[in-house]
């Protein structure tokens, strides 16, 4: 087995990888940066590689040469890239290879082919994978975009060829918007991926986003671990994911799963990967893209299959054969993941930067929390806004929803606002409960983006009233009780301390 791994990532995913690596007896190394000197992931690792003194214009987790020099210097055998950052950089995977370091992921060629959406489309076409009508090549001008859209029919979507995560994506509903949207998509792609290439495809207004987890070893074995339902999104950013999806019956699951495996085999995929599909109202599915990394939402699959995906990643990278056949994979129960982001739902999900003064996460046998933060953690604008993932299990979907409501009620976060009130509203939404939702859920099926308990408004007024009375009392009695050591109720003390 691999003896040591450098985790080229931070936050919850670094901690998640450390947990499995430790269990497998793999020594873990992490990077200590000056942006997050007291981070939790640093405390959890076996070895810390201090790169705080590094002077480079490239952000720490994107600095390929520096990361490699750390790995070489410490004689680390493997690198796990997590998600984001360099996870889908074919160049990084290639550089690992040439330094003799095991990259935990597929080959550089596969990352390149699947990472470039235009090439991925061409491979899918060749292997007769269902695909939305669209451009075969990158689109080079507004004029070309207009001609293509005319042929496909509006609405169309412009996507970054190098894209992912909703960046560089624009929907165009009519001719007049094309030039503006084309330029916006290009500039965003350029910024996010250093590549302004975009392509166009037919846009389905209300699809479901269904993705399949696959595992492929280096001996030609490939299986799927069922689907994840990721339709609850905002601006193409996933907020909540489930496994399994209510939209799939066994027959459709098997058909889509086979399709995912076919694609993985066609590109010579190796390691854990995800094939994303759009599913329309008539159960037609279309290949969208393949993610060649561990996904943020991987825990829901782990909970319903009982398989540790990170463990499988290490074993596959180690050249081992898969322990499972497709027949062994049974989906049991239901799991929901909530991405607790530092965002203010009441002001249009704007990022809420600040210090997490205090945080209480739910506990219980049906609850898993993957968190990268503890108290006093700074939510920095340098990184994304995710604080933690709460993953809840139930024997049935109904039970998972019920357990989720209980779990989210236990969450307490002080110092910043989070997406928890949003999830509380989702869990009570009848369309969500019935499973009749699509990616348009937030726009069309949610009237209010956050849940308020009965009387919350009045409770707020009460608290403010009481606090104000205390303030006045303090003002009025300042001279009188000076030095008397008057006893204060503790909550009043808290208020006073806070007001200092």
């Amino acid at each position: 087995m691999i003896k040591s791994v450098l985790i080229a990532n931070r936050g919850e995913i670094a901690i998640r990888i450390i947990k499995t690596a430790k269990r497998l007896g793999i020594k873990t190394y992490v990077l200590l940066t000056k942006k997050e000197p007291n981070s939790l992931y640093v405390q959890e690792a076996d070895e810390i590689c201090d790169i705080t003194e590094t002077t480079s214009a490239i952000p720490e987790f994107l600095d390929i040469e520096n990361i490699l020099s750390v790995a070489v210097k410490n004689k680390i055998e493997a690198i796990h890239p997590g998600y984001g950052f360099l996870a889908e950089s074919p160049y990084f995977a290639q550089r690992c290879k040439s330094e003799g370091i095991t990259f935990i992921g597929p080959s550089p060629e596969v990352i390149y082919n699947m990472g470039n959406k235009t090439i991925a489309r061409q491979i899918a076409i060749k292997h007769k994978i269902p695909l939305l009508q669209g451009s075969k090549q990158n689109v080079k001008s507004v004029k070309e975009a207009l001609a293509l859209a005319e042929n496909i029919g509006y609405p169309v979507i412009i996507k970054a060829a190098a894209g992912g995560g909703g960046k560089g994506m624009r929907i165009v509903r009519e001719k007049s918007q094309m030039s503006k949207m084309y330029n916006l998509a290009r500039s965003e792609s350029e910024k996010a991926f250093n590549d302004s290439a975009v392509f166009i495809e037919r846009y389905i207004d209300n699809p479901k986003h269904i993705e399949f987890q696959i595992l492929a070893d280096s001996h030609g074995n490939c299986i799927h671990l069922g689907e994840r339902e990721c339709s609850i999104q905002r601006k193409h950013q996933k907020l909540l994911e489930e496994a399994p999806s209510v939209a799939l019956n066994d027959e459709l699951r098997e058909k889509m799963g086979r399709c995912a495996i076919e694609l993985a085999k066609a590109v010579g995929y190796e390691n854990a990967g995800t094939v994303e599909f759009l599913l329309d109202g008539d159960n037609n599915y279309y290949f969208m893209e393949m993610n060649t990394r561990i996904q943020v939402e991987h825990p829901v699959t782990e909970l319903v299959t009982g398989i540790d995906l990170v463990e499988q990643q290490f074993k596959i990278a180690n050249g081992e054969k898969l322990n499972y056949n497709q027949e062994n994979i049974k989906l049991k129960g239901a799991a929901i993941e909530f991405r607790v982001n530092a965002e203010d739902v009441q002001t249009n999900f704007s990022p809420n930067i600040g210090i997490v003064e205090n945080i209480v996460m739910p506990k219980g046998e049906n609850v898993r929390v993957d968190s990268g933060f503890t108290d006093k953690a700074v939510i920095s604008p340098d990184f994304d806004s995710m604080i933690a993932k709460i993953i809840v299990y139930g024997k049935t979907r109904e039970e998972a929803i019920k357990n989720s409501i209980e779990a989210l009620n236990q969450v307490r976060i002080k110092g910043i606002k989070s997406t928890v009130p949003f999830f509380k509203a989702v869990l009570r939404n009848k369309h969500f409960i019935n499973g009749d939702f699509t990616t348009a859920f937030l726009d069309k099926q949610m009237k209010k983006m956050y849940h308020q308990e009965a009387d919350e408004d009045m409770i707020a007024a009460f608290l403010i009233y009481k606090t104000h009375m205390e303030e006045i009392e303090i003002m009025n009695s300042k001279d009188l009780d000076f030095g008397k050591g008057r006893e204060l109720p503790p909550w009043q003390l808290t208020n006073r301390i806070k007001s200092l």
């Binding site: 002080k414 308020q452 009387d455 408004d457 608290l463 606090t467 009375m469």
Partner: protein, 172 residues
Amino acid sequence: MQKSKKNKYHLVGTDKEYKIYENKQGEVIINGKKIEVSITPKDGFLELNHNGKTYFAEIVEKDQNKYVVLINGNTYKFSVETPISYKRKKILGMSLGRSSKYVVEAPMPGNVIEIMVEKDSEIKAGDTLLVLEAMKMQNEIISEVNGVVKKISCSTNSYVNKDDVLVEIEKS
């Protein structure tokens, strides 16, 4: 002799108002109804109990008579008005904090990528005012009100800090 209504105040929120006082027994009466709430500090939070329900709270901001609190992670803003100040504000038609000027502040530090509006442009609630790039995302800053743009206080490709004023709108 003790007055029957003590500490009478109007709490004026964004969309709700409450009349609150204490009766002779020191009980809190909100809009004519006796309300019992216990306040206990727990794990660094304030826990409020009312009708068997638990709410967790945090006092976020205090500026003279204006307060911002979080209850269960939701923001509530109220200004505390005495009967006199309440009446005066009503008469002056200031409708308590609901002034006609709407100021859009940067919700986070970032770069202004594109400004979609001009001075004097008429806008509707939901219209995109500008695009602010932060946290590796292009965020559309959206107007919550209908009105006319009075002033643009930022420029394209400039860096703004959190809470910097971006646009001022005269509400219609």
